[in-house]
């Protein structure tokens, strides 16, 4: 048996590498559409600023895509390196979604290359259309991976023999398990929110520094509109997700809402510290939790007292705060969107106060934080299970020694990777600002200027 310490190291490494990759994969999912909108405006209205934005964003994507591809590859290796028993037992079930994902990865990598390197030599509309497959493959890729994760939360579509081996598989039931219905749209919308707010926040910072040209305004308005459109739908989907979790993963729900005793008329707590005797230092709204779950104060909600101790998720306070942070950020971003929409409706312009730009300039980081919090709720909330009800994470982990060492190495490596990516992107943006014409080459471009 492997030690608990090894298990902890493996979990930390998995969480860290996933948390890193997910930000880049959001860019892979949602940046193509953002770029194509700018490209379309540029072509239709012969708008040079919009074209320039599309060109710049596609060059930035060349960098983020490369980092996304290598960190994604690490994840694939980790399934075998960290969780070999999970693959051994359920690879034939869980792998189905990833096999399909392979097609999307291929097409994404191919059309991304055609689009990014086709700026100069392809005809403008042909070039535009070469980018459209990226939008579809991004969504398809997110569907496949998240369907695999949804299956871990609500597994179905397989039969086990007495020894616990998978003997039959129903692929459609695996792919379209009940959690797919809310996890997949929730993740795709999250990707659009992260990308929209993130790109907008970059231009908001520029405008706060006094750069108010058309390029900056468009660079703010296009992605912000996209993100603000996704936000209300996202809150609706999240709300559905919460009710589904309450029905199907009561332990997760009890931990994230910090419900101690099973029963009706549950209080909704905002913030606070979760203890065995209830929530300390929180704002409590009596009956609201029951109401949110079943639209009535009398809805019975499962509490932690009904969950066997060895099936309870860890770190309740952490889960509870992560959930609150996600919902809180979502609500705040909804308010930001309403402000934007109101000003646009009134005056066809963004709100004029610097406070608006300040708010936009932190919205990108906030959306990423919400994304991480959501994944913490999903993944940590599922513990101790890796496949809810069927396999414990402790049964899945590798017996190999030295996972702490590998985790340390991964931390170092990714620190370099992150720093490198940020430095490269900043260097690109500085060159764009200074020169315009003489621009930094995107990573794969032929070298024109000599190293020596």
């Amino acid at each position: 048996m492997s030690s608990m310490s090894n298990l902890l190291a493996a979990r930390e490494q998995m969480a860290f590498t996933l948390g890193f990759h997910i930000v880049l994969s959001c860019l892979g999912v949602a940046l193509p559409a953002t770029i194509l909108i700018a490209n379309y405006i540029g072509l239709k209205k012969d708008d040079g600023a919009a074209m320039e934005l599309a060109r710049r964003w596609s060059k930035a994507m060349a960098v983020t895509f490369a980092v996304g591809a290598v960190t994604g590859t690490v994840l694939s290796f980790e399934f075998g390196l960290l969780w070999p028993q999970f693959e051994h037992r359920f690879g034939s079930v869980f792998g189905i979604a990833f096999a399909i994902e392979g097609i999307f990865f291929f097409l994404e990598a191919i059309f991304l290359a055609v689009y990014i390197y086709g700026w100069k030599r392809l005809r403008p509309w042909a070039h535009f259309w070469s980018g459209v497959p990226m939008v579809i493959t991004g969504i398809g890729g997110a569907f496949s991976v998240v369907a695999a994760n949804a299956w871990m939360n609500q597994p179905q579509g397989f039969t086990l023999d007495a020894a616990g081996r998978v003997t039959d598989v129903a692929p459609l039931k695996v792919l379209f398990n009940p959690a797919t219905g809310y996890e997949v749209p929730h993740m795709i919308l999250a990707a659009y929110m992260v990308v929209g707010f993130l790109v907008a926040s970059i231009y908001a910072v520029g405008m706060l520094k006094g750069r108010r040209d058309r390029l900056h305004r468009l660079g703010l308005v296009i992605p912000l509109t996209l993100a603000c459109t996704a936000t209300p739908i996202q809150l609706f989907v999240g709300d559905t997700a919460a009710r589904e979790v309450a029905d199907h993963q009561p332990a997760k729900f009890a931990a994230m809402e910090c419900i101690q005793k099973t029963g009706p008329d549950q209080t909704e707590y905002l913030g606070g510290i979760c203890t065995k005797d209830g929530v300390k230092a929180a704002i409590g709204i009596p009956g609201l939790d029951s109401f949110l779950v079943g639209f009535s104060k009398n809805t019975k909600v499962t509490g932690l007292n009904s969950i066997p101790d060895d099936e309870e998720p860890p770190v309740h306070t952490f889960l509870h705060l992560a959930f609150d942070a996600m919902v809180g950020i979502g609500t705040a971003l909804l308010a930001l969107g309403a402000w934007f929409a109101f000003a646009w409706w009134k005056r066809r312009d963004i709100p004029q106060t610097p406070w608006f730009l300040r708010a936009v300039s932190v919205s990108g980081a906030a959306a990423i934080l919400a994304l991480w919090c959501g994944w913490i709720v999903t993944e940590v909330g599922r513990q101790p299970w890796i496949v809810q009800g069927y396999m414990r994470t402790s049964e899945a982990v590798t017996e190999a020694e030295g996972i702490w060492f590998s985790f340390a190495l991964v931390l170092l490596l990714y620190a370099g990777l992150g720093t490198g990516a940020v430095l490269v992107l900043r260097a690109m943006s500085r060159r764009w600002r200074e020169g315009g014409a003489e621009d930094v080459q995107s990573p794969y471009a032929p070298q024109t200027e000599e190293v020596a």
Partner: protein
């Protein structure tokens, strides 16, 4: 052919594509590494960069394809390999990260010193990654991976056959890359053409030498594979040999047209020869294909995905390579 055998064939097709295209990408990194200091290495480096730039990302996906098909169709083999050979596998993964990052960053980083560091990272990891992948393959062929997994973490791959296989992977990647680059340089640059011709010749000889040494190592370490390679697998070995000889002849006579198909033929024949020699084992001689196989419906999905790849991905790849060959993909400066 059973469903499991068909899935194994799909796995081998994926591995073949990865060996050809991924292998050539690694080989490009190898020539980058040995191209010489600044001035001298500048022209070949540019050529390498130009040819890798639009395609390495897509070529890399074959690796993901192989991994995913392996764990989906043959989960028992996947976990046995990963619990035994985790050291070289982790080192290969490390190499992949460093390589991708080095390649992507080196262009855009402004400072000369950082650029050099990134370039070196890319080039060195281009050699280490295929070496460790080869060590994994060699260890599997040598029967060092027990079906139950958790084989010895070091002695399983530190031995003559795995290490020789690693070296052969590096050499054959270099050989493929040099041959592809001769073709790329064709458009006008005779000096560069000869430059890569000489290297193709050298790499072919070195890869051939490793292959011969590998046959001896197989004889002593992997008797099952050796016996079948010299029996059922013999036609493929001979085919590979013939391709190699014909390629040498073509190089010496300055004929360029047949270079690419011959180089590819030599490598493909070796991979399928290995496959035939291992059959019906995935892990010789402890785990057979049918013992490791996933249930039938999963295999059906693998076939559907493969068919979709043939219908959608291959034409798209062809489009990408065609655009790249016609110089239509180039970012402006």
């Amino acid at each position: 052919m059973s469903k499991a055998d068909a899935a194994a064939a799909i796995l081998w097709v994926g591995a073949t594509f990865y060996a050809l295209f991924g292998g050539a990408d690694f080989g490009g990194g190898f020539w980058d590494l040995v191209a010489g200091w600044d001035e001298r290495g500048q022209r070949p480096r540019e050529a390498i960069q130009r040819s890798l730039t639009p395609v390495w990302e897509a070529n890399h996906v074959w690796l993901i394809f192989v991994l995913v098909v392996l764990w989906t169709a043959f989960p028992a083999a996947f976990s046995a390999i990963f619990t035994t050979l985790y050291v070289p596998i982790a080192l290969a993964a490390l190499g992949i990260v460093l390589r991708g990052a080095g390649f992507a960053f080196r262009k855009s980083i402004v400072g000369l010193r950082e650029r050099r560091a990134m370039g070196a990272t890319f080039a060195i990891s281009s050699v280490l990654t295929p070496f460790f992948m080869g060590a994994v393959v060699g260890a599997i062929a040598a029967g060092k991976v027990p079906a139950a997994g958790n084989g010895d973490a070091f002695s399983s791959w530190i031995g003559p056959l795995p290490l020789l296989t690693g070296a052969m992977f590096v050499a054959s990647g270099a050989y493929l890359a040099a041959v592809f680059l001769v073709g790329d340089a064709r458009r006008g640059d005779h000096e560069l053409e000869r430059y890569f011709e000489r290297r193709a010749l050298g790499a072919a000889l070195v890869a051939g030498a490793f292959a011969v040494a590998g046959i001896f190592a197989l004889h002593s370490e992997a008797r099952y594979v050796f016996d079948r390679l010299t029996d059922q697998g013999l036609p493929l070995v001979v085919l590979s040999l013939l391709c190699g000889v014909a390629l040498l002849a073509a190089l010496l006579r300055g004929r360029r047209r047949p270079l690419r198909p011959l180089a590819a033929g030599a490598v493909v024949a070796v991979i399928w020869g290995w496959g035939v020699a291992q059959f019906p084992y995935l892990l010789p001689t402890s785990l057979r294909i049918d013992q490791a196989a996933a249930p039938d419906p999963t295999m059906t999905i693998v076939f559907i995905v493969f068919a979709a790849a043939a219908v959608v991905v291959l034409p798209s790849l062809a489009l990408l390579y065609t655009l790249a060959q016609k110089d239509l993909l180039e970012s402006e400066h």
